[in-house]
Each structure stands twice: as C-alpha cells, then as structure tokens.
Symmetry: C2
Subunit: 259 residues, 2 copies
Amino acid sequence: MKFVEQLDRAVEKNNSLLCVGLDVDLSRIPPQFLNSEDPIFLFNREIIEATKDYVCAFKPNIAFYEMYGVYGISSLIKTIDHIHSVGLPVILDAKRGDVGHSSNAYAKAIFEVFKADATTVNPYMGHDSVRPFIDYYEKGIFILCLTSNVGFKDFQIAGAEEPLYKSVAKHVKEWNHYGNCGLVVGATKPEELKEIHELVPDMPILIPGVGAQGGDLESSVKYGGKRAVINASRSILYAADPHAEAKKLRAEINKYRVK
Amino acid sequence: MKFVEQLDRAVEKNNSLLCVGLDVDLSRIPPQFLNSEDPIFLFNREIIEATKDYVCAFKPNIAFYEMYGVYGISSLIKTIDHIHSVGLPVILDAKRGDVGHSSNAYAKAIFEVFKADATTVNPYMGHDSVRPFIDYYEKGIFILCLTSNVGFKDFQIAGAEEPLYKSVAKHVKEWNHYGNCGLVVGATKPEELKEIHELVPDMPILIPGVGAQGGDLESSVKYGGKRAVINASRSILYAADPHAEAKKLRAEINKYRVK
C-alpha cells in the first residue's frame, strides 16, 4: 500500500494527526528499562503500546540509534517491526541526500533494510540526489523545506527574489510525478506554512517543533491541511504518563482541525 | 592530534593529495572475496594495503555500509580501525545535518562510535545544525558547498545577488573559530573552486568528482590549494590493479601541484 494511503487510513482510524517521534535518549528513560537486555527497544515498545490509539504515525530519528552503533541499529529494526505489528506507518527521520549512486544506497538502506514507509530527505544537492528516494514510488518522501530550528535563517530564507525554502517547495511540486512527495515545515513558521500548503494542497506536511521547540500548535493545524502530520517527541516520551499526554495532545490538535 | 595536522603529515609523508573513497558495492568486487565471512572488510583491507603509500586519507561513504544493515556497520567500524592501524586519517562521508540535539547524536555516532577523524556535513539547516560537529574541535568538518552532481544547479547556484554556495562558504569562514572547518567543492567546477579557495586559503577542500564523474583534475589541483584533497573512488576500487592505479593518479596529481 502507498504511504499516503497508509497515512490517510491511520488518520481516520485513530482520528489523529499526531505523530510521535521516537528519539530515545538512554539518559532520560525510566531506570527500570536500563537493566534489561535491550532498553531502547523495550522503552520504545512501551511508548508505542501506550500511544498507538492516538497517533497516525511514529517517527524514529535514526541519529539516536546510530549513536549506539550496531546495537542501536538492531534496536531500530526491532522498533520498526513493532510499529508495523500494530498497523501504523513509520517515518524514518534520516535527512539523507547525496550524489545519485550514494542516494541509491541510502534509499535501499532506509526502505529495504530498515523497512521504513517514509523518510525525510535534504534537498541541498538537488534533484538527482532526491530522485533515488522518490523512485520508491510507494514510499513517502518528506523533503526539508523550512525547518523549526534557529539556523533556518542562515540559508532557507535567503534569496532576494525568492527565498530558498519557496524554491524548494516549487521544485518538489515539479518532482512529484508519483504523488509520493511531502515537505517538512516547522511549527514555528505559521504564515509560511499557510503559503506552502496553498502551493501543494494535497501533499503531506511533516510539522515538527510543537513541543520542546515552542511552535504554534493552533496555526500549524489550521494551516497545514488535512495531511498535516504534527510531530511531538520529548514532550510525550518523557511525560509522567505518555498515554495521557498523547490523548491530550490529540484532543488539542482535533480542536483546530479543518475536516 | 587535530585532523588538519594528521592530514598535513600524511600529505607530506606520502607526497600525496589523493584520497581513496571506500564505497564498496558487493556486486562489483572480485568473486574471491564473496565466499569469505566479511567480504566488505576484506576487500577494503586489500584496497587499503594496496594504496596506503600513495594517499593522504581514506573516505568511506557510510551509505554503502548502511545498505547492508548491522553487518555493514560492523564492517565499517573494522575498516576504520584498519585505516588507523596504517597511520592514516579517515574522512567518514555522511552528509548529516539536523536540529541541534539530533546533530549532537549524529556527531557522537561519527566521532565516538565510528571513530572517524573528519566528516562531511550538509549546511541546509544552518549554524546550529553544523555546530555540534564543529564543537569536536580536533575533528575535521567538511561542509557541502558546491557539489559535483548535476543537481547543483537546482539550489546551490540560485540567488540573484549571491549564489547559495558562496553564502555557504562565507558562513563557514565565520563559523571556523577552531580552525577545523573545510568545504566540499566538486572537481567539475574549476572557476568556482579558485574563487572559494581564495576566500578560505587555509581550509582543506575535499574535491570529489575527478574519476567517474568527469571532473577536471588539472584545474582541481591547481586551484584547490595545498590542502586540496582529491577523492577518487570507483576508478581505483574497481581498477584491474588498484596499487598501480593509485600510484599513477598520485603522479598525475603531483604534476599539477603548487607547493
């Protein structure tokens, strides 16, 4: 099944645009997990089970698995299997991008080895660096457009006639022959999100930055469209009660949803 | 020891600016390796041993290891150990870049888990996405500037007043407080390479694209300065005689070197 259909089904089934980011930091997880054989996977499994009825997807960021080497990569693969066993799609946040034959290798890793349903890609190197991902036409490809960190100012809004992020959005619209592209736009940029969504109204938009990074939830939901994927990571993972926290955030998102 | 000193020493010891890219493709390596327990590592070891007297560094691209999952990551770690055992520096080509706390995790993976001496970073997300790498002040950080693939046209040369790649070079010059930054500039862009090197005359410049991608060797060496790191991957790895091929390419590079 195509990623966008998986996403639409999960959005409908769980009545939710919430995506939980699985960015595990062993120094922050409850101590009972640390004595087990695979603390990362067991913690993730607990989070997945606690929140699976309130989300439309899970988003592990591969950085937090790579930092534990071979062991972390094994935990990532087990985590992705578990997400699939509860019937939800996986967006593997990897922000890759390289010359064509290297991007081929990355896409193979992400979709065939790690078995993700979607990923994030960095557009700096242009079309031939993104295309090997897009060519997996059943998978979802979220291309970085306008990000939620402070560094967005350095390059993404530069350009006298047209800022870089707008040029990226327009290019991705052109590249979207298979209808499997999406964009990443931070929750910290509501006006620009509105404008981007109007340019690509059917495209899923992955919106990080609502929790710890202080983005605006109301306008992110209002302006992001029916495929706005609102990501929260640390605010759910390290909540006293992740189940209650996910339920609460879903309700808050649904208050502002345009159906 | 700082990466730049490691690099300068290797350049002097082996009288070479050549860097060999270790981008292993199991479908292209000689059949005798395939029946062994760890074909990737054994092939790499053979290449490292055959070329170690003619290079200033080795550059594995992590994409080609990730595509073999946990096994590939193990082979990468063994490969890096072997490069260190012959006394040469490792540039781990990974092109990472993410929000600060995720870039922290990537930097930790690259420098502490995989134990690379230098890496490549994508600048799209700006300073706070690059800084966690730079903060490893003994390591070398090559930031993508103007790449050798055809997609460079899409965004890197856009910008009416100042093309993006030039803005990246100027920003990196500002970010270089520890003197550990470098840039990636494709061998396919000699005029721009000249101009970039003049802007940052002491910075190492990683120059891919001379072999299979058809870049211009003579002008890359002439314009890249004394820390031009000329990368060749497939043209050496899959040569009938990698030892002879590396020796030949070093001699060709040295013809044009400005000492």
